[in-house]
Symmetry: C2
Subunit: 253 residues, 2 copies
């Protein structure tokens, strides 16, 4: 076996290889915060009990937008645990440190996390304040319930997690649209969990252009081929929906 | 606006609501490690420079397997940064603390991360040792290069990130198969980044059964509908491939 070189590992990418050799220390990366360059500053709000893929999918995609910065933000800096309790992403910034964002993304959560965030007046106030200057305010899954609770979605079309649709529409002045993502004014809301990937790719095209978004899609090999076709609630019978929700709830702390 | 209740937020899931009220402290969750119950112990190996979605997608899915534990592991405990430097997931366990896993997952990375991990003899030794007792040893993206470098894929069929296929096949005794995921013996390798979602759903069906995996798919609303159809390298022309790889490399630290 020969030792891998950049040239052989990823064909055709040797040009920029030198830049990749510098290994940035975690502390240095942690301290840098949003860039002041020409790319969008994307902030993702973490809170106790969010679902891992809700922030991680869009972060993976949006971090590929040229010169973008993606920053994880929470009430306080530090690890923030998911709904299952098993994984934590680090919030590198507290909400008190962030006054402006080009893009705000609010992920969804299970019941505990969504209820906690939707009842947290400090978080809601920060969301409202940040929203005043965003180009895009976005959500994944039940994150749209948190945006609605902050009073931002009045009169808008929006989507959410399939099992929360009735709650969203009956509680707020929101027209629920059962699509993968819904663009209404400067708001883009995504359906459940994995829908954040589709939403973020659309958002990437809005932040740049379609060829760039397509290049990001290829860069992340996002050519989904799930082994089953069971992800659409509209095609599921009530018993199967109950089974899915019970599995979800049993996995949560 | 009325305050949300579990009953209204997620219809039909009231039965288990009481369990959800207990907010587990981060420290407690952090300290629990793999469960000793009847579900699979899944360990995901983080290393400096991995791509965020590679561990996060499968973790989201596998954490829904009944009684499963999903643990993030690294050479040392603590935050481990992604290829863009912008996000860190916490490793709750060091490799010295983990002797057995039912499922090992090795994520992929950009050039820097893949080369670093593939040259790290301690990591490779741990991978080999853990593999002796796994039911499944799996990878996403260039994670298969790390498994191959550990000597585990000799004589196997496998997949990897599209731009790394030639390297994988020319360097190791591996037959590259350009599929979303490839099952060979107890190894399941996934293609680039987002392919980990498809692989993990298949793996969930192997760990449980097809109805359970389908319920997980619905629970995570994994009904992908990307706005573009540009994620398949086989359909991309050379210039567009170069564009995608340049975007990826420019986003990395």
């Amino acid at each position: 076996m020969t030792h891998p070189t950049r040239r052989t590992m990823l064909r055709g990418t040797a040009a920029l290889a030198a830049a990749g050799v510098t290994i940035q220390a975690a502390g240095a990366a942690c301290a840098k915060g949003p860039r002041t360059g020409d790319g969008p500053d994307v902030g993702i709000l973490l809170y106790d009990g969010y679902s891992l893929l809700d922030p991680a999918g869009p972060a993976e995609i949006l971090a590929r937008v040229p010169n973008a910065s993606v920053t994880m933000i929470a009430e306080q800096r530090g690890p923030v645990r998911t709904d299952t309790g098993g994984v934590a992403i680090v919030a590198d910034r507290s909400i008190s440190e962030i006054d402006r964002l080009d893009v705000l993304l609010v992920p969804g959560a299970g019941n505990r996390g969504t209820i906690g965030a939707a009842a947290n007046q400090q978080l809601l106030q920060w969301i409202r304040r940040i929203n005043e200057h965003t180009r895009w305010t976005t959500s994944v899954c039940t994150g749209s319930i948190i945006l609605a609770r902050a009073g931002l979605l009045d009169g808008h079309r929006a989507t959410t997690y399939w099992a929360s649709a009735e709650y969203l529409e009956s509680t707020f002045d929101v027209t629920y649209v059962p699509e993968r993502y819904v663009h209404s004014g400067k708001f883009i809301t995504a359906a459940g969990v994995s829908a954040g990937l589709d939403m973020a790719l659309y958002l990437a095209s809005q932040l740049t252009d379609e060829p760039t978004a397509k290049a990001i899609q290829l860069a992340l090999e996002y050519d989904p081929q799930p082994p089953f076709d069971a992800g659409n609630a509209a095609k599921a019978d009530p018993e199967f929906r109950k089974h899915a929700l019970a599995l979800l709830e049993n996995s949560q702390v």
